[in-house]
Amino acid sequence: MTLLSVQDLHVTFGTADGAVRAVQGVSFDVAAGETVAIVGESGSGKSVTANSLLRLNFGADVRIDGRILLDGRDVLAMSEDEVRSVRGRDVAMIFQDPLTALNPFYTVGYQIAEAFAIHHPGTSKKELREIALDSLQKVGIPEPTKRIDQYPHEFSGGMRQRIVIAIALVNSPKLLIADEPTTALDVTVQAQILELIAQMQAEHGSAVILITHDLGVVAEITERVMVMYAGRVVESASVADAFSTPTHPYTRGLLKSVKSLDTERHERLESIPGIPPSLINLPSGCPFHPRCGFAETLAGRCEREVPELRLVGASRSACHLPEDRLLGLLGGLS
C-alpha cells in the first residue's frame, strides 16, 4: 500500500546570485512500513526533498511545485493548519544535530510530553508524564525517572539523539524521516542508534525515509535506495541491486570511493574527479557529465540531453549509456 507518493517535485530558492534549483523533477513512492534511503553528497537535494515532505523549506523566496500525496492527500495543497496537524503526528522527523533539535530551556520530559499533547489536547499532566517516562524507557535511556527532569545539556550526544527519536515516535507516526541521524555521532554510538531506529520501526510499523551520505549506513538498515545528484534522482534500486550491479556511473563512483576495512594498505582509492556542480549554474544535459568517465563515449549526447529515469535490469537509472553497459558498470571503464 502506497503511503507517500511524491510526483515531479521541483524546489527552487531565489537568491541574490540567481535561482538555486535544489530539486528538479523528483518522483518516488514509499509503501507503508518500508525503509527507503536517499543518498547523495552535500548539495544533491536530499535534505531539501525531505524537508518539502513536511513543508519545512523556509525562506522568503521558495518555490515548490509538484505533488506530495500522503495517504492520498496533497501536502502542498494543505492549509497551514492542516500541515501542522500532519507534522509530528503522521510524519515525524529526526534531525542530524540532536543538540539544536532540542530546546535547551525545557526538560526532556516536557519536550516529549509537548509533542504528544499538541496532537492529543486534554491529556492530563499525569498521563503525559507516564507517556514521557514510557518513551524514555523504550529508547533505552537508563534511569528514566531521574532523567525525565533533566535538560538536554545533561545528556551525551547519543542520549540526546535517543531523546529526539523518543519525541519523533511518541505519536506512532506512519512515516519517520531521519535526516543524517548518525552523522554527528561516534561510530560505536552510531551502531546503537541505527539498531534503535530499526527496532522502533519494527515495533511501530512506521515507514522510514533515511537521508544519508554514508553508503555503509544504507547497506545496514534499508531495503531500497535512491541516489540523488544535483537535484535529480539518478538511480533508484533495491539495496542489493544498487550494491552488486549499480546502473549509474555516479553510484558506481560512490561505491568505489567507499573506504572498506579490507582493502589493502596503500591501495589506491578510486575517486570521482572534480566537484559537484553549482545549482545556480548547472551543466547542460546530464548534470554529472563533467565528472563522468563515460560521457565522451556517447558523442556529445550527455552534454545535450538530460537523461530520464528508465528501467535498466531491475533498477531505474538516468543515464544515456546502453543497458548492457550499465549492467556491467562495476567491470570498469571499458
Binding site: E41, V187, T188, A219, L254
Partner: protein, 330 residues
C-alpha cells in the same frame, strides 16, 4: 634511535584543569585528556591515531606540535626535545612540524586570499623574499591540484575539498618533515575524501613526509597507515601494523570499533555478528579505576577494576610491535 624515528613521544601527559574557580579547585578536578602516551613515528611512514570523541586524539596532535604544553613527558623531533625548546628554537622546529586541520572552512582566514594564506608560514619564518614567496605558493598550488591562477581568490570561492587542498599546501610551504593531520577528510563528501587521501599519499611518496593521521574512523585509516594506535579515554589501548590491529585484533574496544563500522555491502552486513557497546564513554575527569574501558567491556572482571593493564605485546606473539593494554586480550 633518532635515525629510525623522526618523531617520538615519551610518557606524554596532558591534564586540563576544569572550569571550576581556582580557589575551590581540588587537585582531582583535572581532565586527563592524554595520559602516559608513548610511540615512535618512522621516517616516511604514517601513524594513524584512532578513537571516539573525547579520547584525547586531538589533544595528542596539539601536544606533538607543541601548540599546548604537556603536563609531563616529552616529544622529540629527530632527537631534539620539542617540549624543552626555547621560543626561538621552537620557531625553527615549527618548520619541521606542520598541521592540517579538520574544518577547511574554519582554518583559512576569510579575508585573506588563498595565495596569502598558503604563503603565511613563509612570511612568518622569513625563508623567502616576497617575490620568491609568490612563486613558491604557485608551485604549491600546482602540487596540491589547485589552479595557480586562483591565487587571488578568497576561501568562500572554493569548495570544501579545494580548501582542504589549500590547507595541505600551507602545511607544505616550509617543506616540513612531519605533518600532523587532524581528521583531514572528516568534513568532506565521500567522493572528495578519496581525492584528498590519494593526494596525501602521493605527497608522502614524492617528498618523504611522515604523517600523524588522526581519525575517528578505522576504515579511512586502513588505506594510509603503516601503524595504527587506538585510543580510549586518553590512553593507547592497542597499537600495531594495520594487518595486526585489523586482523589479529587483541583489545575488546578495537573489536567493538571495527564491528561498528557500517559495511557498504548488504549481504555481509546481514551476516555479521555485531558488538554493540552499551553506554557512553565515561568522563575523563573521573575515569574508571583500573582499566578505563572496563565499564563498557564485555570481558571485564574484578582484576580490571583494581589493576591497570600495561601496553605490552601478547605473550608468545612473534609480532612484538603489536601491543595491547588488556588483561584478557584475544
Amino acid at each position: 634511535m633518532s635515525d629510525e624515528f623522526v618523531l617520538a613521544a615519551r610518557s606524554l601527559r596532558k591534564y586540563f584543569p576544569t572550569g571550576a574557580s581556582r580557589m575551590l579547585q581540588r587537585p582531582t578536578d583535572l581532565v586527563q585528556a592524554v595520559d602516559d602516551v608513548s610511540f615512535g613515528l618512522r621516517r616516511g611512514t604514517t601513524l594513524a591515531v584512532v578513537g571516539e570523541s573525547g579520547c584525547g586524539k586531538t589533544t595528542l596532535g596539539r601536544l606533538l606540535a607543541r601548540l599546548i604544553e604537556p603536563t609531563s613527558g616529552s616529544v622529540t623531533l629527530e632527537g631534539v626535545d620539542v617540549t624543552a625548546a626555547s621560543p626561538r628554537e621552537l620557531l625553527a622546529l615549527r618548520r619541521d612540524i606542520q598541521l592540517v586541520f579538520q574544518d577547511p572552512y574554519a582554518c583559512l582566514n576569510p579575508r585573506h586570499s588563498i595565495g596569502q594564506s598558503i604563503g603565511t608560514p613563509i612570511r612568518i619564518q622569513k625563508t623567502l623574499s616576497r617575490s620568491a614567496e609568490k612563486e613558491r605558493v604557485r608551485e604549491l598550488m600546482q602540487l596540491v591540484g589547485l589552479n595557480p591562477e586562483h591565487y587571488n581568490r578568497f576561501p568562500h570561492e572554493f569548495s570544501g575539498g579545494q580548501r582542504q587542498r589549500a590547507g595541505i599546501a600551507r602545511a607544505l610551504a616550509l617543506q616540513p618533515k612531519v605533518i600532523i593531520a587532524d581528521e583531514p577528510v572528516s568534513a568532506l563528501d565521500v567522493s572528495i575524501q578519496s581525492q584528498i587521501l590519494n593526494l596525501m599519499e602521493d605527497l608522502q611518496a614524492s617528498m618523504g613526509l611522515s604523517y600523524v593521521f588522526i581519525a575517528h574512523d578505522l576504515s579511512v585509516v586502513r588505506h594510509i597507515a603503516d601503524q595504527v594506535a587506538v585510543m580510549y579515554l586518553g590512553k593507547i589501548v592497542e597499537i600495531g601494523e594495520p594487518a595486526a590491529v585489523y586482523e589479529r585484533t587483541a583489545h575488546p574496544y578495537t573489536k567493538a570499533l571495527l564491528s561498528a563500522v557500517p559495511v557498504a555491502d548488504p549481504r555481509r552486513a546481514a551476516g555479521r555478528q555485531r558488538i554493540v557497546l552499551t553506554g557512553d564513554v565515561p568522563s575523563p575527569v573521573n575515569p574508571p579505576s583500573g582499566c578505563r574501558f572496563r565499564t563498557r567491556c564485555p570481558k571485564a572482571d574484578a582484576r580490571c577494576a583494581t589493576e591497570e593493564p600495561v601496553l605490552l605485546a601478547r605473550p608468545g606473539d612473534s609480532d612484538t610491535e603489536h601491543r595491547v593494554a588488556c588483561h584478557f586480550p584475544d
